[in-house]
């Protein structure tokens, strides 16, 4: 969680998709990070970048699972 923005991924929804990393691809400020771990994949939120979020909503629009939530903390 950042000081100004809160971003969460619902992993129950996110895990349904194979090899999806759309959020990483669309986010202009590098908030999502995709890693390939053996047979699994992992999408994480890069803590130190959260406060860079510009609320462009691209991740929200493009995530096929509606797994992302974003909240302003002010």
């Amino acid at each position: 969680m950042g000081m100004f923005v809160q971003i969460e991924i619902d992993y129950n929804k996110c895990k349904n998709v194979k090899n999806c990393k759309i959020c990483e691809d669309v986010c202009p400020v590098e908030i999502f990070k995709f890693e390939k771990l053996d047979n699994n994949r992992k999408i994480s939120v890069v803590e130190e970048n959260i406060d860079e979020c510009i609320f462009c909503n691209l991740c929200l629009e493009k995530c096929p699972q509606g797994a992302i939530t974003i909240k302003k903390l002010y």
């Binding site: 000081m3 406060d51 002010y74």
Partner: protein, 398 residues
């Protein structure tokens, strides 16, 4: 980035423009040695990044190595327009039958390069244009096509040259334009271009200025022993060097171009050229700025945070003024985030610290919400830059 004469000549040599035989020296002893090796009368020329060195005694001619050493001693002790002479160029002395001028620069009104030639070389081009405007020939060049041979000939003809020598000069003009374009120059100038008694055309002086923003494209400069640097009338302070590093963290936006001063009011200012106005307004109201800077073009929160931290850590700082013009290209909320994050990381309570915001434009409502949440005083667009500067100065004099 202005190049030294010897650096410009390195490029000239590589691109096929004739230059005098010569070497660089950093001591009178080296000058003597070079003069000895050249076995000719020599010209000793101070290498500084300013014009007018000839008049200031920065160019002297010596008949023999001993005299060269003596004269070099004189040149090395000079300070020309604030520049110490650390290096001199020792070259064979040329005996001109005439001195000519050839230059290329941008004409901002025509928005294209313009080539300039004159039969009066060796004097400052501004002086020529003031005293003998009829002697100056200018020719706009289309950047996409480059300089054509016939244009080179026109320039050469207007230097008063004929036949074979005109062709030689035309060739030099085309080469000079190619340098101008290849190295992303703002200015490429040969003054004087010397016509020797045996009919050679030699670039006695060379002046190239490279576009700062395009330097990243010129890795070849390193191979030519031309270090990439920033033009500055003085050596940057530690504070300024740190600020520059911050600006380079990321290509997005500007949070840099910092100049250090010894005042007590930290400034985070910007907005389409407003920085200077803001700085002046602070001074007008009796404030003493700790720094000048420019923020704009939506720098990342991290860049704003790091720059704010640098300013707040500066010894003697009593407060911070974040003042910008009404901006559509820099979000108020992102600047506010950066400033607050900096304070929190430095264990400063934003509601207790003397900090004043006057930012307006994109996402100002979000910005004001954030500022209100953290108890930071702000002025909106109803207040002028001048009023904001006054309020900031009063804030720290309380």
């Amino acid at each position: 980035m202005k190049l030294y004469e010897y650096e410009s000549k390195t490029i000239f040599k590589k691109e096929g423009i004739l230059i005098p035989d010569g070497y660089l020296a950093s001591s009178p002893e080296e000058v003597e040695k070079i003069a000895n090796n050249l076995k000719k009368e020599v010209a000793i020329k101070a290498q500084i990044l300013a014009t007018g060195r000839g008049k200031a005694g920065g160019i002297l001619f010596a008949k023999n190595p001993k005299e060269a050493k003596q004269l070099a001693n004189k040149i090395f002790s000079l300070k020309i327009k604030g520049f110490e002479v650390e290096k001199v160029l020792v070259e064979e002395r040329l005996y001109p039958s005439s001195e000519l001028f050839l230059g290329i620069t941008y004409d901002l009104s025509q928005k294209k390069p313009v080539a300039i030639s004159s039969s009066l070389g060796g004097i400052d081009i501004n002086e020529i244009s003031r005293k003998y405007p009829e002697k100056i020939f200018t020719l706009p060049i289309n950047m996409a096509w480059g300089m054509q041979n016939y244009q080179g000939k026109l320039l050469a003809k207007n230097m008063g040259l004929k036949s074979k020598i005109m062709f030689k000069a035309a060739n030099i003009a085309v080469k000079l334009f190619n340098i101008f374009s290849k190295y992303d120059c703002d200015l490429a100038e040969i003054n004087p271009l010397i016509l020797t008694q045996d009919g050679e055309l030699i670039a006695a002086d060379a002046h190239l200025e490279l576009e700062q923003e395009a330097l990243y494209r010129h890795k070849e400069l390193e191979q030519l022993n031309i270090p990439i640097r920033k033009d500055s009338p003085r050596i940057p302070t530690e504070f300024e060097i740190e600020a520059e590093k911050i600006d380079k963290i990321d290509h997005r936006g500007v949070a840099g171009r910092v100049v250090e001063f010894d005042g007590d009011l930290g400034l985070l200012i910007g907005g389409g050229g407003a920085s200077l106005t803001i700085f002046d307004a602070v001074r007008y109201h009796g404030g003493k700025a700790a720094n000048y800077c420019e923020i704009g073009g939506n720098p990342t929160v991290k860049k704003v945070k790091e720059l704010t931290k640098l300013i707040l850590k500066k010894p003697g700082i009593k407060g911070l003024a974040v003042i910008t013009n009404v901006l559509n290209n820099t979000r108020v909320d992102l600047v506010a985030r950066g400033v607050i994050l900096a304070m929190v990381e430095l264990d400063i309570n934003p509601s207790e610290y003397p900090v004043l915001f006057r930012s307006a434009g994109a996402y100002e409502e979000d910005g004001y919400k954030i500022l209100r949440k953290y108890g930071i005083k702000y002025l909106n667009r109803d207040y002028s830059i001048d009023q904001a500067a006054k309020t900031a100065v009063e804030m720290i004099s309380k």
